[in-house]
């Protein structure tokens, strides 16, 4: 199962449309898409606008791979469940988000195992074709690095 997600805040039609077109050519691929507040009606895959966190977690657990906007919620959840993820960054100039931080996120985190990046919709089909060869990343723990936890714990305890 390929799980497509764009987060809950804004639509990301450029990604959903590109994946939908790929799905048309791959009728055997099992897919499910969460497309956000969008007018788009994908024709080749089942979809929903939103998912409650519990359902999202359940679907991530059940999927083989995620295709998502380059949002940290999607990326961190994929890593927590040890699922490979293909991300495409939103562009501020196209009104898909308010700044270009997802491009930075993609560049920096795209170097990690299990995270694949399509910089735009023209790269999506090609990357989707090769999804099967994407290796699952090692599951990360569900807590921050020990260094950050220790720093914050000290701060909470009044150690400055």
């Amino acid at each position: 199962m390929i799980l497509v997600t764009v987060g809950y805040q804004m639509a990301f039609d450029r990604l959903v449309d590109a994946v939908d077109q790929w799905a048309a050519e791959h009728p055997d691929a099992e897919m499910f898409a969460q497309i956000g507040p969008s007018e788009l009606r994908p024709k080749n895959m089942p979809f929903t606008a939103f998912m409650e966190p519990v359902e999202f977690t359940r679907r991530v657990e059940a999927c083989s791979v995620l295709v998502a906007h380059a949002g940290m919620g999607s990326i961190l959840t994929a890593l927590q469940f040890g699922k490979p993820i293909l991300v495409m960054p939103r562009h501020a100039a196209r009104g898909e988000t308010r700044n270009d931080h997802q491009i930075a996120t993609s560049r920096r985190l795209g170097e990690r195992p299990g995270i694949e990046v399509a910089m735009d919709e023209t790269e999506i089909a090609d990357k989707l074709d090769r999804l099967a060869s994407l290796e699952a990343p090692p599951k990360i723990s569900n807590v921050a690095s020990p260094e950050l936890i220790a720093r914050l714990r000290g701060f909470v305890a009044g150690q400055g």
Partner: protein, 160 residues
């Protein structure tokens, strides 16, 4: 029938207000929870469904807004002010974005110590909110060493 009254021991744990907007901001806040092990925590966010992530904890919901919707932002700020004024936290911790900005500003008025953890999504420069809260927060942390070097804020590990 009279029950023997439990001696009232005042809760001496520090009070932490842990606040974030939705999506990746909230997921990152959840990864910091071990740092609050010795504290009494109030979690604040924008989606009621996130309560399932913190069962049994003090959980408050505020209106969702971004800096682009001034009216909703005002409602959000008012609700956060109310929460800060009634909870009176010793410490405010936020992973962003707008809600954390307000909570740190208001928290400071009530003499709370405040910590802003810039989202790991901001992999090239400190976020706009991070830059704006910097003069007001007790500590500001970035999750990227190269951002720390360029901006002069502290790096102490990341949520990954």
């Amino acid at each position: 029938m009279t029950k023997p009254e439990m001696p009232k021991t005042p809760d001496s744990r520090p009070k932490v207000l842990a606040i974030a907007s939705g999506g990746g901001h909230w997921v990152q806040l959840m990864r910091l929870r071990p740092a609050f092990a010795d504290a009494a925590v109030t979690f604040v966010t924008v989606r009621p469904s996130y309560q399932s992530d913190v069962p049994g904890e003090d959980f408050r919901v505020i209106p969702d807004a971004t800096r682009w919707n001034k009216f909703k932002l005002l409602l959000m700020a008012a609700k956060i002010f109310w929460i800060v004024a009634t909870v009176r936290p010793d410490v405010v911790v936020s992973t962003g974005a707008a809600p954390g900005y307000f909570a740190i500003r208001f928290g400071k008025w009530f003499r709370a110590r405040t910590c802003w953890i810039d989202s790991i999504a901001n992999a090239e420069i400190l976020s706009l909110s991070g830059q704006q809260i910097r003069p007001h927060a007790s500590i500001v942390l970035t999750q990227w060493p190269h951002v720390a070097e360029a901006s002069g804020v502290e790096f102490a590990g990341s949520v990954l």
